[in-house]
Symmetry: C2
Subunit: 484 residues, 2 copies
């Protein structure tokens, strides 16, 4: 059963909505773009995520009687507005970039075209949902990339910022490449693998570590990863793990997937020593997994040190995106509709020119080089513009406009990224499953050059503007600077 998040909005959205109604302009159509300005955590891109939850949110939008009573009790809203809210539902269009797609700064991830009173209401929840999951997906990509093909498990529920942060964070982490989550609720909701074995308390509730290990191995011979640091990792834990494997052999129990988990201490040193002990005892197949405040930097460092770890459990730093815990997506007015039936582009100025918005009704094209299959650039154009892949395409940097490159007709593909999700308030999009999004995300990651995927100082993918959009923007800037 889905929650109704109609009131999951900032109070000012409601005061503005009443203002639009009172000013008689509430039915004027507008375009809002949801976009972000800077890739999180120093990454070379972001992974957009959270659209399915936006779809659920929009579909469930309606003010219950309880909501109405509450709003009335605030003393800010009058009965005309309350009456309007009673019949409220979303009637507009929403275009979005499908989840799992790699995206870049300043590109609209979501475009809302709707009467201003509706477009205003949905700002906060859209930002909340997309900011959160895009952040965690991007962070999870970094952790998974650092693990160089080893399995990474999402283990962060206990440190997540509330239940939803754990649940939707696990979803985003799996989409970006984690092999599973410890979060059973997320496993059930999204049909993704759930993983984990036992905690220190299991060991401590038995008289000895060895007895605890043996009891566990007998119960779970198919997935018997023993936590070895309750008392002393090498002197006690690994030694007892080996005794336990030996005992299982004697008892005729075959362990299928088995090994140890290191959860404290110097993971590089301990993993090498443990590897040697396990190999010498005849268990070269024993897996060494590790947890304990890991992130992409620690994993990369452990890899560089030759740590003998091939399985990673990552909790707190992934689920909170500890190195940067917010995504910074914004929702800005891009156009209003004139009485003459035309879009009037709107721009938000700022003393910081990086913060100036792109006006108008836009589409984004991903430009892919045919011979490499890799992304060359993204290209933002006006929705009305038409292009032919047979013609040459000249791209120029929107800041340093003298920097140009020309793609020969026939040598590139142009894929529009924004697809319709709602049209006239009606859902026209089938949300893919998490497994499907994960597969799409993998392909997306592979469409980038390794230089753009690396974790430190990645090469930036250019996001260029069409001539027409660039001219429109320049004209609006000139207009405002003349004080018009």
């Amino acid at each position: 059963m889905e929650r109704n998040f109609t009131l999951l909005t900032d109070f000012y959205e409601l005061t503005m909505m009443q203002g639009y109604l009172k000013s008689g302009k509430h039915q004027e159509r507008v375009i809002f773009d949801m976009f972000y300005r800077k890739n999180p955590c120093g990454n070379g891109f972001a992974i957009c995520c959270g659209l399915e939850q936006v779809v659920e949110y929009i579909r469930n939008l309606n003010f219950s009687e309880e909501d109405i009573d509450y709003l009335r009790s605030l003393g800010t809203f009058d009965e005309d507005f309350i009456e309007y809210l009673r019949g409220f539902h979303f009637t507009g269009d929403i275009y979005a970039i499908p989840e799992g797609t790699v995206v870049f700064p300043k590109e609209p991830l979501i475009k809302v075209i709707a009467p201003v009173i509706e477009a205003q209401l949905v700002e906060t929840a859209i930002l909340n949902l997309v900011n959160h999951q895009s952040l965690i997906a991007t962070k999870a990509y970094r952790v998974v990339h650092a693990a160089q093909g080893d399995g990474v498990m999402e283990f962060g529920l206990r440190r997540a910022q509330g239940p939803d942060a754990g649940i939707y964070g696990a979803r985003a982490a799996v989409i970006a490449g984690c092999i599973g989550t410890s979060n059973v609720y997320a496993g059930q909701k999204f049909r993704v693998p759930v993983l984990g074995t036992h905690a220190h308390s299991w060991i401590m509730s038995f008289p000895t570590e060895l007895e605890a290990f043996k009891a566990y191995a007998r119960l779970y011979p198919n997935n018997c990863i023993l936590l070895v640091d309750t008392y002393d990792t090498l002197k006690s834990g690994v030694k007892n793990a080996i005794l336990c494997y030996d005992a299982m052999k004697e008892e005729g129990i075959t362990l299928k997937r088995f090994g140890i988990r290191l959860d404290s201490g110097d993971l590089a040193y301990l993993s090498k020593k443990a590897r040697k002990m396990l190999d010498e005892a005849g268990y070269p197949d024993a897996i060494i997994s590790a947890s304990n405040d890991l992130d992409e930097n620690l994993i990369a460092s452990l890899k560089a040190q030759g740590a003998c770890i091939t399985s990673w459990g990552v909790g707190t730093n992934l689920i909170t995106s500890e190195s940067q815990p917010s995504f910074g997506g914004v929702y800005k007015l891009a156009a209003t509709y004139s009485d003459e039936g035309q879009w009037v582009p709107k721009i938000k100025l700022s003393e910081n020119s990086e913060k100036i918005t792109n006006p108008g009704n836009k589409q984004i094209y991903r430009i892919i080089e045919k011979d490499s299959g890799k992304v060359f650039a993204d290209y933002i154009a006006l929705e009305e513009e038409r292009f032919s892949e047979a013609e040459d395409l000249v791209l120029f940097d929107p800041i340093d406009t003298w920097k140009k490159s020309t793609l020969k007709g026939g040598s590139y593909e142009m894929r529009p990224l924004l697809v319709p999700i709602f049209l006239g308030g009606k859902l026209v999009y089938n949300c893919p499953s998490v497994e499907e999004i994960k597969a799409h995300c993998k392909k997306e990651q592979e469409s980038l050059w390794e230089e753009c995927r690396r974790l430190t100082n990645p090469h930036a993918v250019h996001v260029d503007l069409s001539d027409k959009l660039y001219e429109m923007k320049k004209q609006l800037l000139t207009q405002y600077s003349r004080g018009e």
Copy 2:
């Protein structure tokens, strides 16, 4: 209607539960302590928060048929265990420190006494709920403290890590001292003030800034805070705000609470210039509020620079606790029950001695000096110990045991912090309202010396152990180091 979070748990809790059942020890009573090791964000204390949500969670604990079907589908659990889950409910005792109380490292905030199979299940959700809200309450305290009595509004929903992070984060922020939140859902759910006026899009949807201001002022004369940075803060925004106030006077509209909001640029400079313009125009009562990536350090710096701001909207950095986005609470086994009907203390060792746990069934006492009314120290003792305030109390540092201080009998009060919440699975506690918790939290903050409340290098409040608890711990450590 409340959500059922029974599956909001780590998978390993379930595999361990089945293990306890299969080992025939699932009904053995144990004690788990939820505590944390280090105050977040360099603060001198934490504010514990989230208990009401733990109470809801425990009350709703039960495996639905859908949950049962899902768990069966995983192929890990057998029918005996599934059958056990079908009738599952919590039958144990829970003790906790009431929400809004200031707390210190290593103190059990929650103590669970229950059959091991039940105590194990609830670990993850308890940690999730208490870690999140205690983090945000502590961060919010810092921001509110920096504002030196000015009102601080919680504005972070759009950047929160999912809906719950926004909703429960707003709750925690208000408990710690914020005057309200922008989050309407939280306002409805917790009956706390909701606040806010308008966004840039309001301005941009009118032909001119002045028209947008006037339309707003006519609608909301009681709370007319105008956002002045859409085009140019001083040249356009503040100037138009003044013209708007003048126009309202002419129209005979009295503005009750009115002023401006700065949302970009150099807030110290702009606020001083704006203050001068407003004063010279005859509006000394106009409020200057500010937002834009604020946190406790920026607010303290603006205060030190003499910025003319008396109202603060704090978003991203508060709602995510940007400087440290996780709380680090853990849940550790403290005792098991012997066949002879006695608690057997348990200890978790670690190479890092700071991580060694406190064993046994404990109570925490807050020691308050009668003459100042301030907190002298906290004192952790065994539950069975009895004390008299008429007698002298000798406190010693649990690390440097030669550091001692003696409190004269009659000069201090001893307040037990852990109170019963559930006994035998039955709720025995009335959760206070958010307003009541907020009032309690204010008193709690005032019970600390200012040296402990300051934001940088605060003085640490000592948490000492009773002689009996200290001896028990020493004995267990000796026992383990001898390899028993």
